[in-house]
């Protein structure tokens, strides 16, 4: 059984969905205005970065209860990525990535990066954290040394996802309405795929064959065949689709419709919306375990 954790930014709750039956298992109150939903390294915990409360809520995936609240993290936490025994917390307006000890929650470092940080994604080798920004560049942090080690010149990128082997990544060029495939090693552009308007979220199937991109202003999801570098289908979903995640068996794709109160569930075979689940208001982040 898979469990999808959906952060409802405007209801300050986390909806837990059983991905087998697509029914809601529980609705958990978290801190104010959760943005990104992340999982701990061993997937026994879910973390919500509460943008409206300067805090991070830690939820046990075994009991689906809040087991800890880390407070006074940063003015507007946007995510909490667990790596190397630490939590990396981006904040869009301070432009810092705050590093906390994952066990104690104590502050280790603030890494100045760039204004309007939009996402932070861990490379599959668990050594590098890729940070994207609404203004420019992809910024890479070494999670062992907590140092900013590289900045790749690019225009604004929102969502970013790695292929399972880590050799490539897909980055959504939010301003120019395309998804791009890059070589992780050289950062060179391999393919440029026009999608819908204002692409935000991206997820890649575990066999590395497909990518799903949310087009926030088109209200749709583009399905990309990575090898062919083309969109094979565009699926209408709800208003302002934001993030996208796959069920553990990859049979279903879950899309948060941030401009409304639902999650669209897409069948990965027929590429159709098979159900729409009512969650809280402003569903934004999603993680599936």
């Amino acid at each position: 059984m898979g469990l999808a954790y959906v952060g409802n930014q405007n209801s300050s709750t986390l909806t837990v969905i059983n991905t087998d039956g697509d029914e809601i298992v529980k609705t958990i109150p978290v801190g104010r205005n959760p943005v990104q939903v992340d999982t701990s390294f061993d997937r026994t915990e879910v973390l919500t970065a509460n943008g409206g409360e300067r805090s991070i809520s830690v939820i046990s995936t075994r009991t689906n209860q809040v087991i800890e609240i880390i407070r006074n993290v940063t003015p507007e936490p946007f995510g909490a990525v667990h790596a190397d025994g630490k939590l990396f917390v981006p904040d869009q307006f301070t432009g810092n990535v705050t590093v906390l000890d994952a066990g104690s929650g104590t502050l280790i470092k603030r890494i100045p990066v760039v204004t309007r940080i939009l996402s932070a994604v861990l490379h599959p080798n668990n050594q590098k954290l890729y940070v994207t920004s609404l203004v420019h560049n992809i910024w890479i942090i070494d999670v062992t040394t907590n140092q900013l080690i590289q900045s790749i010149p690019k225009e604004a990128i929102w969502g970013l996802a790695f292929t399972p082997d880590g050799k490539r990544f897909i980055a959504n060029h939010y301003l120019s309405n395309f998804a791009a495939i890059y070589s992780t090693c050289t950062n060179r552009l391999i393919g440029k795929i026009p999608v819908g308007i204002a692409p935000i979220g991206v997820a890649i199937s575990s066999n590395g064959e497909r990518a799903y991109v949310t087009n926030s202003r088109s209200g749709s999801v583009s399905v990309i065949e990575i090898a062919a570098k083309r969109v094979i289908k565009t699926i209408p979903v709800g208003r302002v689709p934001y993030e996208v995640a796959l069920s553990p068996d990859n049979r279903k794709i879950y899309v948060t419709n941030y401009g409304g109160t639902t999650v669209s569930v897409i069948d990965s075979k027929s590429l159709r919306v098979i159900t729409t689940i009512s969650v809280g208001a402003g569903p934004r982040g999603i993680s599936i375990i």
Partner: protein, 317 residues
């Protein structure tokens, strides 16, 4: 704070108190700050995550755009009570500005990528104009003949308020705050990503100058006397003071953490800046170019608006 030369003038000013209205993003509230005493005299509950405050040019109403409420809260400046909560303004409304001559106000929504046009009397949405990805700011030109929308993606989009059609798009990536010289001859746009302010000629839309300021400038305000421009450098904990004629940086004033919104009093004597990361507002004396007061606000103060000059009299404070 007022220097009066006669009793009549003093009485008149005493009757007209000036206020700063500050949105506390993470308290869902608006703080009302009395500029005469620099004390917070009231807090008004508004919609979720209020990210900006604007005051109508007649000074009668305050508007907060509520980023998570997807709404606008309209407040009476006389009673400090909520008059109405306006819905249907897209996902994450981000800012507001006014056209008194057209009796309208304009609200860009970040995720919708549209500019919403509302009626000032009825608060009804009259139009939704698609603009571009990631809209963050709006400014109506002093003569009210143009509406400027800033965005990270589409640059600066100029809209004709008569037709609600796009007149021009200026490729100025990473734009944030916008303001105008009081005569309308120039407009100023903050470049949040390249740490600079661009000065444009308003008739030709030609870039006249680009001046380096602090890191990630967000809020910008031009003084009503046309002499200065003030910029909040969100990642440098500072405010840059620019000479509006030469567009050189005259001073850099240290303020709190993540200075965000910025506004000036009608008489140009004080500049107020919200420190998003410090939960304070810094008060800058514009003659001395230094912070003379720091006032505690709610959590994550972001937007700010100050009582405007009287419409019929111009500058008075």
């Amino acid at each position: 704070m007022f220097k009066q030369d006669n009793q009549d003038k003093q009485t008149e000013l005493a009757q007209r108190r000036l206020f700063a209205y500050i949105t506390n993003q993470d308290n869902d509230s608006l703080s009302v700050l009395d500029i005469g005493t620099n004390r917070i005299i009231g807090t008004i509950r508004v919609g979720q995550l209020p990210n900006s405050a604007a005051i109508s040019p007649d000074g009668k109403r305050i508007y907060t755009t509520n980023g998570a409420g997807n709404s606008i809260t309209v407040i009476s400046a006389q009673t400090n009570r909520v008059i109405e909560t306006v819905k249907g303004v897209g996902t994450e409304p981000f800012a507001a500005d006014f056209s008194i001559s057209r009796n309208r106000y304009y609200v860009p929504s970040f995720y919708s990528g549209s500019l919403f046009v509302l009626d000032l009397d009825t608060n009804k949405v009259l139009d939704e104009i698609p603009v571009g990805n990631g809209l963050v700011g709006v400014g109506v030109s002093p003569d009210q003949s143009k509406v400027y929308v800033t965005s990270v993606g589409a640059g600066i989009t100029i809209i004709n308020p008569k037709t609600n059609q796009v007149m021009a798009t200026i490729p100025n990536l990473d734009s944030w705050g916008i303001d105008f010289s009081p005569d309308g001859a120039r407009y100023y746009v903050n470049n949040a990503g390249s740490n600079s302010v661009s000065v444009y000629d308003a008739s030709s839309n030609k870039l006249l100058q680009k001046t380096a300021v602090g890191l990630a400038p967000l809020g910008i305000v031009a003084s009503g006397d046309g002499r200065r421009v003030y910029v909040a450098n969100s990642r440098s904990k500072s405010v840059s003071v620019l000479d509006a004629a030469s567009f050189r940086v005259l001073n850099t004033i240290a303020v709190g953490s993540v200075p965000f919104g910025i506004a000036i009093t009608p008489g140009n004597r004080r500049v107020y800046v919200t420190n998003f990361g410090s939960n304070t507002v810094s008060v800058i004396d514009t003659a001395a170019n230094r912070v003379i007061d720091t006032i505690r606000t709610g959590v994550n103060p972001r937007g700010i608006a100050i009582t405007p000059p009287r419409l019929e009299e111009g500058v008075n404070g």
